[in-house]
């Protein structure tokens, strides 16, 4: 029984939102040269959630930064929602980042001078949404991560795990085509972490393409596919079985 070869059998192919082809990236030069990614290819479709695992330094954050048009690869092609990144100007890439991509960074990146709700509403404000729309969507996102009551606080008033949840709420607003999350559950206890994962899962179920970097196999298991990076290359993939194969595990 090979789970590896199972397709989703849903007929028409869903749209590929993130496409990475033979992407390479190295840092430094000479003896200190580090090959962070070596000819990595990865497609993520609308509605799909992919988890990226791998040891520290294996290239996970690099992969995510390239997918999010924050870092330019040395070689390879990247498109987000059909928009090629490599040919784009700095302004074009900034637009991709702002309009198509939602980020949850390893280090939160909340703006300390803005309140929680202002932080969450920021991507919508930048999109030119009306203030009322931005506020109500931000409130909804905060509620989904269990932070409804903390909208008026500043990031510095929150615990690490609470800041992380706010960062996730910010990535949720505006239903981005591509959601990139780098260790979003790092500072969270297991129950809160599960809540965050269920939010990411529902973003995928509503049609976003989601890429999640995690060390936690329990969280990776929420994904449709799990890829394993080692030394800048993709080693293996595990994918979920078809629904009819669920729950047929042998009894103990």
């Amino acid at each position: 029984m090979s789970a590896q070869t199972v397709g989703d059998g849903s007929g028409a192919d869903p749209e590929i939102v993130l496409s990475m082809r033979d992407v390479s990236k190295a840092y430094g030069d000479g003896d200190g040269r580090v090959h962070a990614l070596r000819r990595v290819s990865l497609d993520v479709a609308a509605g799909e959630m992919v988890a990226v695992m791998g040891t520290s330094g294996s290239g996970k954050s690099t992969l995510l930064s390239i997918a999010g048009a924050m870092v330019t690869p040395d070689a390879g092609e990247v498109t987000v929602a059909g928009v090629p990144i490599e040919g784009a100007s700095a302004r074009g890439r900034a637009r991709v980042r702002r309009e198509l991509v939602g980020f949850v960074f390893q280090d939160f990146n909340l703006i300390p001078a803005l309140t929680v709700i202002e932080n969450v509403a920021l991507p919508l404000d930048l999109d030119g949404a009306s203030r009322a729309t931005a506020r109500s969507e931000a409130r909804r996102a905060l509620a989904a991560v269990g932070m409804r009551e903390r909208g008026k606080d500043f990031p510095d008033d929150l615990s690490g795990g609470q800041r992380q949840r706010v960062a996730i709420a910010r990535a949720m607003v505006g239903q981005r085509r591509l959601v990139l999350a780098d260790e979003p559950t790092g500072a969270l206890d297991s129950v809160t972490g599960d809540r965050v994962l269920s939010v990411l899962r529902s973003m995928a179920d509503q049609g976003s393409a989601v890429v999640l970097v995690t060390h936690d196999a329990r969280h990776a298991a929420w994904a449709d596919r799990i890829v394993h990076l080692a030394d800048g290359t993709i080693l293996e993939e595990a994918r979920a079985a078809r629904p009819e194969q669920l729950l047929t595990g042998e009894p103990r």
């Binding site: 196999a217 990776a220 629904p243 729950l247 009894p251």
Partner: protein
């Protein structure tokens, strides 16, 4: 899984006949461990023989009810306050296979680990989907599924740990497999013995 202890615990809750016991067992455990009715009756017979359970005369519906004796109540109460037997762990096939792989230089242990890892992750994906599709409505199944998911996670962590030690050269493939120490697991105790 101790069927005997589970049936005692259920009977402590009130007398039941065989089919009721089976239904109560499956309901409480989310139906993950199917129990056949023959197993229920053999276990009840044994419990009766040991003086822990007594049976009533058949009722109008010709059902024989089982209930706990005083000794049975005591046994059921003791179960909750004692830890589950750690005993000898059941043979861990994955650990066994990887230990063998490490001892054989011609085997690519990293690959063996990878294959195992992918399989465990697929299983975790299936469990996670089923677990969250049911939400928390079915709390018995959710609890049992969580237990399986956390155990699988532990296996992935062990595999990752082993792969990393292998990659770092902490484990030398094909190195003299005759260990300097032998360990045995008996009655829940770990015993180490040096081989000079």
């Amino acid at each position: 899984m101790s069927v005997k202890q589970a049936l005692l615990a259920l009977l402590a809750d009130g007398d039941r006949y065989g089919y009721q016991l089976r239904a109560a067992f499956e309901e409480a455990t989310g139906g993950v461990w199917p129990l056949n009715i023959g197993q229920v009756y053999t276990t009840l017979d044994r419990l009766e023989r040991d003086g822990l359970v007594s049976r009533s005369e058949a009722d109008d519906a010709r059902q024989v009810h089982y209930g706990l004796t005083d000794a049975g109540h005591q046994e059921a109460a003791t179960w909750w306050t004692t830890p589950v037997e750690l005993g000898s762990p059941s043979r861990d096939d994955a650990a066994l296979k990887i230990a063998l792989a490490v001892s054989m230089p011609e085997v690519d242990t990293a690959r063996v680990i990878q294959v195992q890892r992918a399989a465990v992750l697929s299983r975790m994906q299936d469990l996670t989907r089923a677990r969250h599709a049911s939400g928390d409505r079915d709390s018995a199944w959710a609890l049992v599924a969580d237990a399986m998911i956390f155990r699988a996670e532990a296996e992935v962590r062990w595999l990752d740990h082993t792969a990393a030690r292998l990659a770092n050269g902490d484990i030398e493939p094909g190195a003299d497999a005759r260990a300097a120490t032998t360990f045995s697991l008996a009655d829940g105790h770990v015993a180490a013995e040096s081989r000079k």
